[in-house]
């Protein structure tokens, strides 16, 4: 095995290129800026396009235009930029525009601390768009995940025609780490499904049994309409309540019904262990250290590391928790995802271990949470 030394942000950029990304636009913001720098190094020599927008709104706007022209697109920012993306995120959800959005989270609220980590945007990413329809959020734990999950993010964005978030963290994005690039487990690259070109296109038409409309690019021989307005299959405004309801339901179900196919996670199940530790993101690393130490000391616990946060992988969580007497949830905020765990496991005692001070949650802190109950 031979290693390279890569920071999480560069791994995201390289994963994006490997997934076929050929358009990036971003606005500088710590701790996400090195994704932009990496894309600027990588894309132009490949014939790709890398732009710096005048602000975050422009950056995601460029991406949506380029995605509709048929390119695989990505943008990267941190919490303050996600706020400015919000209206265009809704556009991408409702009008089914594939885009990968990287959020290298930093300590909020607001401009907060540019160089301190947090997982404070986890619910914001899910709920921070008008309409409230589901989105996909993947959460890397380390530099290898940054590469592989970014590839998955592109595949999902293309397949389901939706925005896909990668919820990274300053503590992953700006940390350099050894990585075995040859040994990485990466997916085959998926392209969006093309509609036939011998007939006029109904841009949002889905056939029986199909949940995602086929795609043709703006600029090809067949005319394509895209609109942020509530639309029918033809891409024109509709007031037909039944058609509107059908479409909203489809936008929801296209993701919810397929969740089993992209519920990325790691589970370390110990028979007879009473405690199940649930963690994601950089905190999962401390959780794993605790898992190993408890095992070494003969006081084993089980561990579930979630790498798909939204839509909530309910079956994975229920399955992992089926024999657990209690659950300990670790996250780098004051309690966001733990609400979902509470919702899914209403009868289990749930201990919350959170922290929001810009520092990593330590294994000692988690051990304390486990032992104090």
């Amino acid at each position: 095995m031979a290693y390279s030394l890569l920071e999480g942000n560069e791994a995201i950029a390289r994963g994006a290129i490997a997934a076929g990304c050929r358009f990036f636009a971003g606005y500088p913001i710590t701790p996400a800026t090195t994704i932009y720098h990496s894309m600027l190094n990588l894309l132009p020599p490949l014939g790709g396009i890398c732009l710096q927008g005048e602000d975050e709104i422009a950056s995601i706007g460029f991406c949506l235009g380029a995605s509709m022209a048929g390119l695989k697109v990505m943008t990267a920012t941190s919490g303050p930029g996600i706020s400015l993306y919000s209206e265009n995120i809704s556009f991408a959800i409702g009008s089914e525009i594939p885009i990968v959005i990287i959020d290298v989270q930093r300590l909020g609220p607001s401009t907060g601390s540019a160089t301190r980590g947090a997982d404070g945007d986890i619910n914001f990413l899910r709920w921070g768009s008008s309409g409230g329809l589901p989105v996909i959020v993947l959460a890397p734990v380390d530099v290898a995940d940054c590469f592989a999950l970014t590839m998955h993010a592109f595949n999902l964005a293309e397949e389901f025609r939706c925005p896909v978030f990668v919820a990274s963290n300053k503590e992953i994005g700006m940390t350099r780490e050894s990585i075995d690039l040859q040994g990485l487990d990466t997916p085959a690259v998926i392209e969006r499904c093309a509609a036939p070109t011998h007939q006029p296109l109904l841009p949002f038409y889905v056939d029986k049994g199909q949940q995602v409309p086929d795609f043709l690019p703006i600029g090809g021989k067949v005319l394509v309409r895209q609109t942020s307005s509530t639309h029918g299959a033809d891409g024109y405004i509709t007031t037909d309540a039944a058609a509107i309801a059908r479409n909203q339901e489809r936008l929801k179900q296209k993701l919810l019904s397929a969740i089993d196919r992209f519920s990325f996670h790691e589970v370390y199940h110990i028979e007879n262990a009473d405690t199940l530790l649930i963690a994601y993101g950089v905190s999962a690393r401390a959780a794993k250290a605790v898992f190993k130490e408890q095992k070494r000391q003969g006081k084993p616990i089980s561990l579930l590391i979630l790498k798909t946060l939204w839509p909530v992988p309910q079956d994975v969580i229920r399955q992992a928790a089926r024999n657990a007497g209690r659950i300990v949830v670790v996250e780098m905020n004051l309690g966001q995802y733990v609400r979902e765990i509470n919702r899914i496991l209403p009868r289990k005692p749930i201990v919350f271990c959170g922290q929001m001070d810009g520092r990593l949650i330590t294994p000692a802190r988690i051990t304390e949470a486990i032992n104090n109950e």
């Binding site: 095995m1 031979a2 030394l5 014939g47 995605s67 509709m68 265009n88 940390t175 942020s228």
Partner: protein, 433 residues
Amino acid sequence: MNSLLNAERPPVLCPGCAHERITHTLDLAFQNMGLARHQIVIVSDIGCSGLFDTFFHTHAMHGLHGRALTYAAGLKMARPELNVVVSMGDGGQGIGGAHLLAACRRNIDLTLLILNNFNFGMTGGQFSATTPPEAQLGSGFLTALERPLDICEVARSAGAPYVHRCSGYDKALAQKIQGAIEYEGFAVMDIWGICPGRYTKKNRLTPKMIDDALARRPALEGIIPENVRPEYGQHYRRMAADQKKAPAPAVIRNQYKAPQTGRQEVVLLGSAGQRVITAGELLCIAGLTAGLKTTQKNEYNITVLRGPSISELILSPEEIDFSGIDTPTVMVALAQEGVDRRRDLFERLAKDALIIQIGGVSLPASKARIHRVDLKAQGVKPPDWALASLAVLAKLKKVIQPRMLEAALKVRFKGKALASALQLIKRVKVGKR
């Protein structure tokens, strides 16, 4: 020629709306140019100008208020052969002002048609960026408080190479629009018109009054000579073609044996200018040459040339789960600022931990063993102190050994920089215990 209008969706504008006239004139311009439907994309956003994409049977993208120029830029960069026509209102120029300025500065080959009717028609006649303060509108006395913007003067000073101000009732409008579309660069047309549904309810405005008002302003009729320059997309592609392919990340061969087993946590405590971050990276690469897993976390002020510079390194034969520093095995005290920032770490040091204390830095109390080195006396300059401290570690066979450090330098540096770094690590003396 055939009309490119959408036969199934005729314009639905108020009777007497200038937009309707401009719709037909734009269609005429397309026909005169001999363009096919698929060669055009109409990009629009919110307001009555945002209906344009439905009137034409061409490619279309309709998005958020004031953001049409951003989608257009992405489309044009991805599909340079497309004719990208953006229709926006005067309202869009206010909310999307940053995009207008940037589009002028950038000079992507887009045509922006501003359907300027001096108010927000769709939402009930509120004042916009171009409303005269004396107008009577839905926004009441607030209208009188703001000064209207001369979009064309703004566009010109922001660098637009093509700016045309004209009336929507101009008999030559089709040729003028054609000129803007044919111009290879960002072309702005500020087209003045009447909004009968809102604006002229309480304000008098006629085509003749528009002509008179235009006549009182300096004429802007197309190319702005001082702003003419290469189109952004062409320029981008030319420059991008000269960019060298980025190398793949270096793959480090596992060829040496680390002097210790077990997880080593090293903290370099320095200040700006000591190349602490580079030294941290070198230590990690040195670890990789012994097949160790490594992580590097850095801390420095946003004003990068001042203040502490700290690098936290973990080298371990096992998976590195927790990537924070728990109990450092080695602290390198390179500068007072760095030491002061992490004073709390010292009291946690175990007896077998090692502190490399560079001459002149004072240390908080701790149980750790202290090894002093006076780099200044050895004639090493501060920018080399962090690297020199790695040489000290290597010579003490602590965390790394000299061959690992040499190999790391060969990965990271080339030519003269490599030669001088190799020379430096050779000549650094370990100092006294």
